[in-house]
């Protein structure tokens, strides 16, 4: 009876997750969150534009398009590019604060240099890193490498482990965007180069 309950529970978790998600191997649109906005509000950043986001060495263009989870499951980047998804995430955070302005003299660029997701049985791990720059009138006023990572309990069952890996991996994009927009060095660069 206990074994049957365990099987049913695992199946239902997987079933409900898939039903709510529609399809596990897809990523939804980025969304700002309150904790990030409150932290970013402390920075009092001026309006900014988001510029060029692309893969940067050692990440290849192929790495930027997709990744594999549990060896055989392909996770395609939303819009065809993980670096583009990072750009959309930074833009979503700026927009939620009312600080996104495509015509602003300050322009944020980014090179995605690392994107890893490992959903091995036992412990999953994911990491994201990028080289960010802030330009004003084509002069670079800020350049910095930032990274974030996370780990989680990873199930034996792929039907449970794969959605968990996708969720933990995609959650890093907002963490990296918030880390950038709350970086004291970014604020210092903005203040040191007023219009």
């Amino acid at each position: 009876m206990r074994r049957g309950y365990a099987i049913a529970r695992l199946a239902a978790v997987a079933g409900l997750s898939l039903a709510v998600m529609g399809c596990a191997a897809k990523i939804g649109a980025p969304q700002a969150n309150l904790d990030g906005i409150e932290a970013m509000r402390q920075q009092s950043l001026p309006p900014m534009a988001v510029g060029i986001f692309a893969p940067g060495a050692p990440l290849t263009a192929s790495d930027d398009r997709s990744t594999t989870i549990r060896a055989i499951n392909t996770l395609a980047a939303p819009g065809g590019s993980f670096s583009g998804y990072l750009k959309d995430t930074v833009a979503a955070d700026l927009r939620a604060m009312g600080r996104l302005d495509p015509n602003a003299p300050l322009v944020l660029d980014g090179l995605l240099t690392r994107r890893e997701v490992d959903s091995s049985i036992g412990t999953g791990h994911s990491a994201l890193a990028a080289h960010f720059t802030l330009r004003r009138a084509d002069a670079v006023v800020y350049a910095k490498d930032l990274s974030v990572e996370t780990s989680w309990d990873s199930s034996f069952l792929g039907a449970v482990a794969i959605p968990d890996a996708i969720n933990n991996f995609t959650g890093l994009f907002d963490k990296l965007a918030v880390k950038l927009l709350t970086d004291p060095d970014l604020k210092a660069a903005v203040d040191a180069h007023p219009q």
Partner: protein, 205 residues
């Protein structure tokens, strides 16, 4: 039987049952009765409703689930509007800087953190092939750029009975589909947690 062979057998059975569950071929769905949709007379009266910026996140075991978030943003927004706690609800910043973050976290009903929030055990009466999923709905509100955060939490559950011999969950309402179950859960959770928020004396300040 070796652990490897047992694992494969368990995986095959789980996938088969899970697949049927997704199709709804053998799944019957119930929503817990701990929360109910509020009648107008039960809703807190807000003297001067203000516009608010709504942020929503759906999580699975604490990790943001962007795909589910996309699917549930519209019903959550509708539930916030139906609550009448705010004069306008938008994804864009509100003039006052007021922000409402609604987070629904899907967790196992056996999770200690989830179970601690209940006076009545949600898993009571769950036997055989009837299983439950818990949902922790959290509303966080800041009334302006310098306002203190107010946090309220409500909990709900969806039960799934698999197969003809499954037990019927107690203290739960049967619904026609998983989609109806999720939408009912969302509307109840959001309505109740916003009512808790509106009743907080700090909310009107």
């Amino acid at each position: 039987m070796s652990s490897y062979r047992y694992g494969l057998k368990m995986l095959a059975r789980a996938c088969a049952v899970g697949f049927l569950s997704v199709l709804g071929a053998c799944g019957t769905f119930y929503v817990d009765n701990n929360l109910h949709d509020l009648a107008p007379s039960e809703r807190a009266a807000v003297a001067n409703p203000k516009p608010v910026q709504l942020l929503f996140d759906f999580q699975t075991k604490g990790a943001s689930n962007s795909r589910a978030r996309d699917q549930l943003t519209a019903p959550v927004t509708q539930a916030v509007q139906d609550s009448a706690v705010f004069s306008a609800v938008s994804a864009a910043p509100a003039p006052s800087g007021a922000i409402l973050q609604v987070t629904i976290n899907n967790v196992p009903l056996t999770d200690d953190a989830f179970a601690r929030g209940f006076a009545v055990g949600f898993t009571f009466g769950l036997v055989g092939t009837t299983v439950g999923d818990g949902y922790v709905c959290t509303a966080e509100y800041v009334g302006g750029t310098d306002a203190a955060k107010i946090t309220k939490v409500e909990r709900d559950a969806i039960y799934t009975s698999l197969g003809a011999t499954a037990s019927t969950p107690q203290h739960a309402t049967k619904v026609k589909s998983l989609d109806e179950a999720v939408h009912l859960m969302v509307h109840k959770c959001v309505g109740n947690v916003l009512n808790d928020l509106a009743r907080d004396p700090a909310f009107a300040k």
